[in-house]
Amino acid sequence: MHTFVLSDPSRCIGCRACEIACVKAHLGDYTGRVTRRQMPFAPRITVVHEAEVTAPIQCRQCEDAPCVSVCPAGAISHDGEVVRVDESRCFGCKACMAACPVGAIQVGRLPGKPDRLLAYKCDLCEDRDGGPACVSVCPANALKIMDGGELQRIAGGRRRHSALQVAFGQR
């Protein structure tokens, strides 16, 4: 089962630190030194900011991922752990953006790389010690890593609650 990161809108304060941490995790030493003619400052997680709610949205790492199926370049693949984009094969057709059920893929003509369109999506910070940077940086603890164990824990708790409800009614 793919692990993914899910946000808790009731905790999110909308600060966008996760987005900055995301870019930083992918640019490494270049972060903060990004200036003209260098690398695009492109996050793979997006904080949605509405009047009533703020919450970061990122890839759910779908098991049967629509983006993988629609990519004509074969640039998106998964290996049982993470759905990833092969940047060298992506030519920016945006089909993945259209297919993604949660809006987690961004394709942009980015400042600093005007000639290159590229699909940006969460790769769970595969190469980073300590796991996804967004989760570790969030000052409000609004992001959680959902792995098999965590999902079982959540679902198990809900099942117990349901069983009690069935047995004794609403308490």
Binding site: G14, A21, V23, G32, T35
Partner: protein, 463 residues
């Protein structure tokens, strides 16, 4: 009047209020989830909100097509790909570029101590990487005619401020005396504790002293007049931009400092000209206003002004030179950020208090206000850890251990102090020459005119 030094862009602010958590004077106003504003009557321009802000314009945002326009309005290049944050300070790069391009102007630049332990971060080095020689070289490559140093003026500040303290103690002047090097702190006294203004040292800050000397002594040295000099400062600080604009910070109608760049602005100017700091050779600052001691160097770390003053006070009154004062200031559990010690100077006990971070200052000031102060000298730096943590320093993005970065920058300054041949202000040969040839003596007539001022006039002036 120029535009606000520190502001929050309502287009970008998401209302997370993390800036309110770091603002030492509760100047950030607004409801959560709505754009915040800055209460100018409280704001001390320290820029901690700017350092903390993570609300930026993502290239994927609705309205991202407005980015070039927003960059232009902020005084940045339209193709700058560095993220644009909601909390920001005024960019003065164009003003400086204009001075550098003006053939009528002789440009003199100074850089604060804390700049040399942070500028390398903008070029990929670890926080605290010491690079004074490359910094001097980079300023020369940008085209400044004379590359001087704020530390020289910090050494002069030691001479003036320690003399002022001794004079106040001998003549029954207002005590305790507060340091006046930090414009955020000075502004806080003026806006929030105006009855305590007489406690502030009359000394201008090192930035302003340097500027005043550029357009007098410095101009004489190079055969120019005050009006021909463009005086630029590179600072780790946003409040320095406000300080330079204070109406009283001028002599004979010439502003002491004409423009202030932060470390990040300097780095951007260098990158724009494809000047790579790391590949530059080590060069010296220009004499005489660029010659400095270890004492002035540690002005960039909290506790440094106190230590620098003690080195000179102990040496001058005892006749015995010391490299370090040996006085250990101790922080108590009840008073975080407040360090105390006492020391014998000329047969008198001087009790000193160091406050690191404006958020910790209130109890100390309450004691002064109520007459319970059991100390004579107070050093306050607005930013916790000192100027190394200033709002004009390279932004430490979310996920960086800020305390660790600040500690590394502090260590860089203290390492530099230890490696310098002269470690006390009064032994700086250029400072000696300044007094012999120009100022005559600390608190003398020329010092009074050029290096001292009256605080308080400006309170609430900030638009």
């Amino acid at each position: 009047m120029s535009t606000q030094v520190v502001s929050i862009d309502p287009m970008l602010c998401t209302g997370c209020r993390r800036c309110a958590d770091v603002c030492p004077v509760d100047a950030i106003v607004g409801r959560r989830n709505e754009p915040q504003t800055i209460d100018a009557s409280r704001c001390v321009l320290c820029g901690q909100c700017v350092l903390t802000c993570a609300a930026f314009m993502s290239p994927f945002d609705d309205g991202a097509e407005l980015l070039p326009e927003m960059l232009r309005k902020r005084g940045l290049a339209e193709d700058d790909t560095a993220p644009l944050f909601a909390a920001n300070f005024r960019i003065d790069r164009k003003k400086v570029a204009g001075m550098l391009a003006d053939p009528e102007k002789t440009t003199m630049v100074q850089c604060a101590p804390a700049v040399r332990v942070s500028i390398a971060e903008e070029f990929g080095k670890a926080p605290g990487t010491l690079s004074p020689g490359k910094l001097a070289a980079s300023l020369r490559r940008l085209g400044f005619d004379y590359v001087y140093d704020t530390i020289f003026a910090a050494d002069v500040t030691v001479m003036e401020e320690s003399s002022e303290l001794l004079q106040r103690m001998e003549t029954g002047g207002t005590l305790p005396m507060f340091t006046s090097c930090c414009p955020g702190w000075v502004r806080h006294v003026e806006t929030a504790w105006p009855d305590l203004i007489p406690h502030l040292s009359s000394c201008k800050s090192p930035q302003q002293m340097a500027g005043a000397l550029f357009k007098s002594y410095g101009a004489d040295q190079v055969g120019k007049t005050a009006g021909e000099i463009a005086s630029v400062a590179v600072m780790p600080c946003t409040a320095k931009k406000g300080e330079a604009e204070r109406p009283e910070m001028q002599n004979d109608g010439f502003a002491n400092v004409d423009a202030v760049l932060t470390v990040t602005e300097l780095a951007a100017m260098l990158k724009e000209k494809d000047i790579d700091l790391d590949s530059l050779p080590e060069e010296e600052f220009d004499a005489p206003l660029g010659i400095y001691s270890g004492a002035g160097t540690i002005f960039g770390a909290s506790g440094g002004v106190m230590e620098a003053a003690l080195r000179t006070a102990i040496a001058v009154t005892s006749g015995k030179d010391v490299d370090e004062s040996g006085v250990a200031f101790v922080e108590s559990e009840e008073e975080p950020g407040v360090f105390r010690a006492s020391v014998e100077v000329a047969g008198k006990t001087v009790r000193g208090v160091i406050v690191s971070g404006l958020a910790h200052v209130a109890p100390v000031l309450e004691a002064v206000r109520s007459g319970d102060a059991d100390f004579e000298f107070v050093e306050v730096m607005c930013c916790e850890g000192g100027c190394v943590a200033g709002g004009g320093q390279p932004k430490l993005l979310p996920g960086v251990d800020v305390a660790d970065a600040v500690a590394r920058r502090r260590k860089g300054l203290h390492d530099h102090d230890r490696e310098l041949p002269v470690r006390a202000a009064h032994r700086n040969p250029a400072v000696k020459a300044l007094y012999e040839n120009f100022l005559q003596k600390p608190l003398g007539e020329r010092s009074h005119k050029l290096l001292h001022t009256h605080y308080g006039k400006e309170a609430g002036r900030h638009e």
